[in-house]
């Protein structure tokens, strides 16, 4: 009897917790479908009386947020593909190839791991200004193209590749690049997927760097466009919620589609919060 009561209590507590966790997200979607001004009536309604998609239409027509969707997508896709390739090349070489200076260079990289990104942001801005990359999408992509933590994680994973596998391919006459592409990449695929999702989320959601490097509204990423929209439309709650849904939904869908792989990756400790 006590065990059954305990089980019921457990489920009650966790369901209440889950509902509380989801409330802000559900309200965001719900308010985005209300008519203008409806959310600021008393008592505050949780669900719309009449569903309208007008705010979404306004976002894409008058407010031209489609351009920000394109910018954010381009940055996320390019940096994810690039960083997965670049980090996996380096991580594999540090794990499995013998070369002069390997351990010293890797040690230096590990020191860089403890330095927060903000420390280099001001000079990076000045450097990109010299390179004429300020206020450009490539400039916005630069911090996500490679990461010390990503290299470290690929290396840890690649250490488990058996040397015999690589030596056999070498004896068959395969070049080192052929081995990396045909033998190594398929073996380390799980860590690549995890890192890819992680980079996708980081580059899509990030705020401080795009805020610093992009000044022209037509180059804005979605979080930037949303914060900017807030300046003029802070009273238009329903419109702002439509903008928030537009920003959150793509990453939420990507996460739900890949959640098994991603959650396993986080539990391996293969991403940095």
């Amino acid at each position: 009897m006590k065990r059954v009561a305990g089980g019921v209590l457990l489920h009650a507590v966790i369901i209440a917790g889950a509902l509380l966790t989801l409330t802000p997200l559900v309200w965001m979607v719900s308010a985005s479908l209300m008519r203008s001004g409806e959310s600021t009536t008393l008592p505050p309604p949780f669900f719309p009386h009449h569903v309208t998609f007008g705010h979404y239409v306004e976002l894409f027509t008058r407010l031209d947020l489609g351009r920000s969707v394109m910018n954010s997508t381009l940055i996320a896709v390019v940096t994810t593909l690039a960083s997965v390739l670049i980090n996996s090349m380096a991580g594999y070489a540090f794990a499995k190839l013998r070369f002069r200076g390997r351990d010293r260079v890797f040690g230096l990289l590990m020191i860089a791991l403890v330095i927060p990104s903000q420390v280099g942001m001001l000079p990076l801005f000045l450097e990109l200004k010299l390179m004429h990359l300020v206020n450009t999408l490539p400039g916005a992509m630069i911090p996500y193209l490679s990461s010390v933590f990503g290299i470290f994680m690929v290396r840890q994973y690649a250490l488990s590749i058996p040397d015999d596998l690589l030596d056999a391919a070498r004896l068959d006459g395969a070049s080192e690049f052929r081995i990396f592409w045909d033998v190594v990449l398929p073996v380390i695929k799980p860590i690549l997927v995890t890192q890819g999702i992680f980079n996708l989320l980081t580059s899509w959601n990030d705020f401080l760097w795009p805020l610093i490097v992009l000044s022209d509204a037509r180059k804005f990423t979605l979080p930037l466009a949303l914060a900017n929209l807030m300046g003029e439309h802070v009273q238009d709650i329903e419109l702002m919620m439509a903008g928030a849904v537009l920003t959150v939904l793509p990453v939420l869908i990507a996460f739900l589609a890949l959640q098994r792989l991603y959650i396993r990756g986080v539990m391996m400790g293969s991403t940095k919060g």
Partner: protein, 296 residues
């Protein structure tokens, strides 16, 4: 044909060079330049003509420690770290214990639900919470009033603005550490629990003497990462309060951003960045030492 035992210098350097060049040019170089920048009075005039820049030695650092605004940002950041981290870690641990409970059904579903806020865009959910905190029409105050509790002007009252930001941050982040704890819980051998139960140990005793010690590595990782993350507070106050009311939510990163990119005092902003780095390094070393002392 190359023998298997030979070195692969050429190929290896080609494989690591893209990453090393990117990290060197766009991270290591700026960090070194940042330190040099912090020793100068680099400002908006220097952006136009770098020759007007002067070396001021540690002038920026002495300026910072005598600046009331810096100490306000320092205090706010410390409140966020000291109050926010235990709350965040506690919520994560509680959620992990629930999600990992043996009798729970649909474990995967609850994991995904609790993790969902982690993947959302901070700017977007900060805007959502800004409206949830609305003193009159916000869902939170409406619920409080409904329960007969006093309502609060969450973001308009200097005493409540930081707690409001902490609440949002706990909601947004607890799912991540929850997963780390779940992984830790799953590494505790099941036989230990069975043996303890046979010996008549109660639920609390099993938690205290088996679960908590087993979670220690996860706990160290989680606290260090959470403290480091909390020192970098920026987006939440930027979107929800712009540092107000009465500067009660200005953080160190926000101060750095204001000094560097609003007033273009880049020398001073670089010095703030290095002070922040020193604080983060100090806090991490302190935690590692505390951990060592406890285990010895």
């Amino acid at each position: 044909m190359k023998g298997p035992s030979e070195r692969q210098d050429g190929a290896a350097w080609l494989l690591v060079s893209p990453a090393l060049i990117l990290i060197g040019v766009f991270f290591v170089l700026p960090v070194i330049a940042g330190f040099l920048l912090s020793l100068t009075d680099f400002d908006i005039y220097a952006i136009g003509d770098p020759r007007v820049m002067r070396v001021v030695g540690l002038g920026n650092y002495t300026q910072i420690v005598t600046d009331a605004d810096f100490w306000i940002a320092f205090k706010n950041t410390m409140i966020y770290v000291v109050l926010g981290c235990p709350l965040s870690v506690g919520a994560s641990l509680g959620a992990a214990l629930l999600v990992n409970a043996q009798r729970l059904r649909a474990k995967g579903l609850f994991r995904v639900v609790f993790f969902a806020p982690v993947v959302t865009t901070l700017v977007a959910v900060a805007i959502v919470w800004r409206y949830l905190y609305h003193p009159k029409f916000g869902l939170l105050n409406w619920s409080l009033a409904h329960l007969g509790l006093p309502t609060v002007d969450w973001l308009g009252d200097p005493h409540w603005a930081m707690p409001a930001i902490i609440l949002l941050a706990v909601w947004k982040n607890f799912g991540y550490n929850m997963l780390i704890f779940v992984a830790g819980l799953q590494s505790v051998p099941q036989e230990l629990y069975e043996a303890a139960e046979l010996d008549g140990a109660g639920a609390w005793q099993r938690f205290r003497y088996i679960t908590l010690p087993g979670l220690k590595p996860a706990m160290v990782f989680v606290t260090v990462m959470t403290v480091l993350g909390n020192f970098q507070l920026f987006g939440e106050p930027y979107v929800m309060t712009q540092g107000g009311p009465l500067r009660s939510t200005v953080s160190l990163v926000m101060l750095m951003y204001e000094q560097g990119f609003r007033w273009w005092r880049m020398g001073r902003a670089a010095a703030i960045a290095f002070v922040l780095f020193a604080l983060m390094l100090g806090a991490t070393l302190l935690q590692i030492r505390a951990q060592r002392e406890r285990s010895s």
